[in-house]
Amino acid sequence: MRDTRRTRIVLVGLLLAGFALITVDAHGDRPGSPGPLGKVRSVGQSVLGPVQRAAGSGMRGIGSLLNGWGHSTADQQRITQLTAQVSSLKTQLETGTQDRARADQLDKLLRLTALGGLKTVPAQLVGLSPAQDGTWSATIDAGARDGITENQTVITGDGLVGRTTAVGRYTATVLLAVDPASTVGVRLAGSGTIGTASGQDPHTLRVEFLDPQLKVKPGAVVVTLGSAGDTPFVPGVPVGTVRQVVSTPGALTRTVLVTPYVDATSVDTVAVVVQPPRTDPRDAMVPGAVSDAQSASAPRP
């Protein structure tokens, strides 16, 4: 009888402790904003991050061993080269002739502004949150030591990945754009109609454009609008292409489903924008920002 009572006390005590922690730390505003227990979390990040880094590099070693089976290093390099080529050709194709002409015109100018100001830090993705939790966040193997702070844009050569949230010394946590709680200000490339994108499922973004009369065709490109002060999102990064226009009669917004350029669940190498482009975010609204996006997302030599 005494043991059962002790068990009950232990159980109730632990449950109360759990409730207390959640109550203290829960913050309904937006995910990733440091709660009162942010300090504790960053300690956890600093202690447990290196473990994941080590595991990540171990996995890469095994992966390259398996991939390299039957392939020489030259083959590997050729594959990487061709993949990059296909990726860049795809981007060129999707942004269209008109935009490309515009891109050529503004290329010189943009090189001085956007491209000149954008500085990125490369990182590897070493951890991914469990898919069944319904939240999409990832660990990258770069942290405060590499100049990463909270609320910086994370991109790949193809487009937007998400933004950094909790940052430890050696690792950082990225809230992916496909997370249901993530909200990204976006713009329809070319037309300049603005809207917000939030995650629907791992391969779909739900974008609500603020123009209910907007005529948009599948295949149209959506880019980031850019946040005030360029945090958390820098302007002009490609987000994805419109897959489907949702019929919502009478609604004040035009809802479309967007296929992201980046499959965040299988991404490997990412770049964190540690210094935003030197353009005024408001200027990103002018036509030609697609080329801005192209240059912003182009892999750095």
């Binding site: 009888m1 043991d3 059962t4 002790r6 068990t7 232990v10 159980l11 632990l14 449950l15 402790a17 759990g18 409730f19 922690l21 959640i22 203290v24 730390d25 829960a26 913050h27 309904g28 995910p31 990733g32 709660g35 227990l37 504790v40 956890g44 990040q45 447990l48 991050g49 473990v51 994941q52 595991a55 996995m59 992966g63 070493v126 951890g127 991914l128 949150s129 469990p130 898919a131 069944q132 939790d133 319904g134 939240t135 999409w136 966040s137 660990t139 949230t165 909790a166 430890g168 690792t171 950082a172 946590t173 990225v174 809230l175 997370d179 249901p180 709680a181 499922d201 669940t265 299988s266």
Partner: protein, 202 residues
């Protein structure tokens, strides 16, 4: 001393399970879910340590999961879920006889239960459900299946370690899985003090 050893083993097991779950399991590209390895670690420890020991191990493992990257949910969320699961598993340890299959099925059941609890807490916190209705059902089935399949890889070995942590003279509740060698002594002297009262009550 025993508490210290238990805490150390729980922390080591949770960190290892977490690393496997977040760094290795996603590379397998399993659809809809990944195996809930931290839950499996909790189950193995709880099966040896009883209700209160299981609850404490679950609390600690959950807290580590909450604090480690890439988790962004409120601290305490997984801790609460795993405390309940650990207590339940510790209570049901007697049900887990020397059948690996039954252990696996139970683990799958607990994984689904943990996901449901997590969803309920998410709703209560106002975070909403990240998954759609059908997505949640698929995730439930997938996590139950993967966790059940992963059970023989994690539980028996960890259960042996959990028993070692209690010292040579420690009593244990029930062996977990076929891979665990060790005779079952049916006498009351070899059931844990935590469960004896229940046995007597029945």
């Amino acid at each position: 001393m025993r508490t210290l050893l238990r805490a150390a083993l729980t922390a080591a097991a949770a960190i290892l399970a977490l690393t496997l779950e977040s760094s290795v399991a996603p590379k397998l590209h399993l659809p809809y879910a990944v195996p809930d390895l931290i839950l499996l670690a909790t189950l193995a420890l709880a099966a040896e340590w009883g209700t209160s020991g299981g609850a404490a191990a679950g609390f600690m493992a959950g807290l580590i999961q909450d604090l480690a990257p890439p988790s962004l949910s409120a601290v305490g969320r997984h801790a609460l879920v795993l405390t309940l699961i650990g207590a339940l598993a510790g209570r049901a340890a007697r049900e887990v006889r020397r059948s690996a299959l039954r252990t696996s099925v139970l683990a799958g059941f607990y994984a689904a239960l943990a996901l449901i609890l997590d969803t309920v807490i998410g709703l209560a916190l106002g975070d909403g459900i990240g998954l759609s209705g059908s997505g949640l059902l698929l995730a439930l089935g997938a996590t139950a299946l993967y966790t059940a399949v992963a059970t023989p890889l994690i539980v028996p070995g960890l259960a042996i370690l959990a028993r070692r942590a209690d010292g040579a003279g420690a009593r244990y509740l029930a062996p977990v899985g076929n891979a665990v060698e060790g005779a079952i002594f049916p006498g009351p002297a070899h059931t844990s003090p935590g469960l004896r009262s229940e046995a007597e009550r029945v």
